[in-house]
Amino acid sequence: MPEAEVNLNKTYDAVIVGSGAAGGMAAHVLTTHGLQVLLLEAGKKLPIEQELRSMEWPYDNAHRGFLPPSSHSLTFNEYTIRNPPYSAGLEKSKHLYSYIGSSDYVKNIVVDERENPFTGTNYAWVRARCLGGKTNIWGRLALRLSDYDFKAKDRDGYGENWPISYSDIAPYYDKVDLYLGITGVPENLPYLPDSIFQRPTKLNCAELILKQGLHKMGRVLTQYRAGVTSEGLKHNKYRSRCYGRGACERKGGCDIHAAFDSPTGLIYPAMDTGNLTLRTNAVVREITVDQQTGKASGVHFVDSQTMKDYNVRAKVVIVAASTLESARLLLLSKSRLYPNGLANSSGHVGHNFCEHIMGPGVTGRAKDLVGKPPTLDDGRPGGFYLTRFRNLTEKHPKFIRGYGFEGGSGSTLFPRGTDTHGFGAAFKEEVRKNQGAFIGMGAFGEVLARYENYVELDPVVKDKWGIPSLRFHYKFGDNEHRMAEDMKETAQEMFEAAGFEIVHVASRVLTEGWSIHELGTARMGNDPKTSVLNQFEQSHDVKNLFVVDGSAFVNASCQNPTWTIMALCWRSCDYLADELKKGNL
């Protein structure tokens, strides 16, 4: 797919900053409406199949699939004891990656931390600068939000309601389901609405045992709702249906593109309309403003390789650079008219920063499965999702909001259980016999959106391109820590109820950022004094500026955000195209 040259003399209908889930969706929707769109991505267009190599056996890889010794990915301890950019003790590593960059298959997808420093409180900030961004390696869990989330303030009085209801977004969830494909099982839960599912995969035996155990407790375990096409998509020639080949649990992406990624799911089809121009290696440093009209006039970017500067013009600017990068870009876009940064008359840009807390969980063993012949369990889109059960009908005395668990069981490419004590013939047999009998799950809980959790521009530190870095002021609070305590207890209690032998209970809360679900830094709302965007992700201050990624979220809910980011973006871009035609932008 050849990239067209950016026409610097042209005024595009829309310029989109970022090519992940949000930017890809904006490109898809706007080009379908016939708009002339320029899509800018800060990173490269990688030969992604050559990066992911999902079918490569570890023994055919020079380092068995691990990072080459010249590179290092950060560990929990390093995040905890060192401050960014983590140099002390790690000087010998030529490349330094976030924790997710620990395999040979992901190293070129995530950014080098040293080229992209940040300061302040500890944060495991995972960034992927390449075409498609983090969608190349996402976890695929594709969940809807409900009015339990959109109207959470009505239920417990905390924070703000979203300016939309489930009924506003439901048709767009449907569109996303049908256009991108999702597999799962309908459960008819009011707090976790069903999608339009393609053919589901079955649970395996240990998962079924857990499901039955939970049923007695009134709790719900369902198949992993994966943004993966199990039946194929007739309208998309770039993606294959999932054929359950395996090694899917290995960190990394899906190189047959059965799992959704932004390039094959959204961007390549958008390019086929003839309405999309793609420019990679374009690091946007500022949204430019017409000081007469106060409207956005385009963007200013630097080529990441040549360091040359460019200005491009557009009638509408769409920011989709990921929650924290989008906030950074708005804050960077200061001018005489907008001294606090663009779209920031409320002072809320960078604030109300929220996400999911994770760490607590449990590993167990299903004794009945010990010694059973090996099965292929990691050749499916995912294991299971255990849905939220806190603060739905009863009020928990210690915390508000809720959490769900992601988990799975069965044989994997690298066996579970090698941390068993001992060695020798008995150890070897133990690992072999137990390899399919382990089951594990970990919780994802809502971190409350708080004004005092925020990012701002660092006054001193700059990135490789001379652009000011972010400084973090972000910590989990009491509600999160009380929730984490409950996660650990309920995880153990549920595994015990299912009759599993408890192997390990994890109580440690992972570093802030670990869930890679950062949200809320340019929240939507009806009041321009307390929110950055309206219900169509349009800036209250600047009518032709839209921010369509996770930064628009009002709260984090406990569900994974990608599907909601895309549904919201689709709705906003329909509105945008309509307003542009009416001449209102």
Partner: protein, 205 residues
Amino acid sequence: MSTNDPINFRQDRRQWLKSSATVLGASLLPLPVVPTETQQAETKSAPPHASEAANKSAGRFFTTAQHALVEELSETIIPADSHSGGAKAAKVADYIDQVLRESFDETQKSLWREGLHLIDVMSQHYHGKTFVNAAPEDRIALLTVLSDHESMIDLPEVRFFLQLKHMTVTGYYTSKIGIHDELQYKGNRVLQEYVGCDDPGPATS
């Protein structure tokens, strides 16, 4: 060595470390392979791929004697049995050699050199033979001492044992023998329908 009696490992350790200075001649202490100053300088300035190639051509990390010892140690951790080959057949010693050869972690490299030395010191003390020459049951008995004291991580021989086990496990279960013969991994081929629980039929390949 009797494995029935509880061992006072620290007291025992003082004895065998003390005796090792006289029992073991300097000839038994393998000289570590240390890259020269120029090699280190080249490694620093070269691009990643070039530096990896340079390390490979610089030769092995282990001496021939050390390599033989690592083979026997790893085979003691994961032995051949009636089900599949062990660490020796899976060439785990070669894997560990590669990791250490390419590593920038001098602490890890020193631990391996010291650990291999201490294994033979222990083996001489308990069995009057080097580890390689000791009987299989004596090898097991020696590593059992370390495994049973795995929380004493202030001792280099214990840290070495944990490293040895970790790297043997990693090397073995990422090898052809480990994945296909031992675990009989079913993935990396087309699966028409995930079998799941209520349909215990065989996977199609």
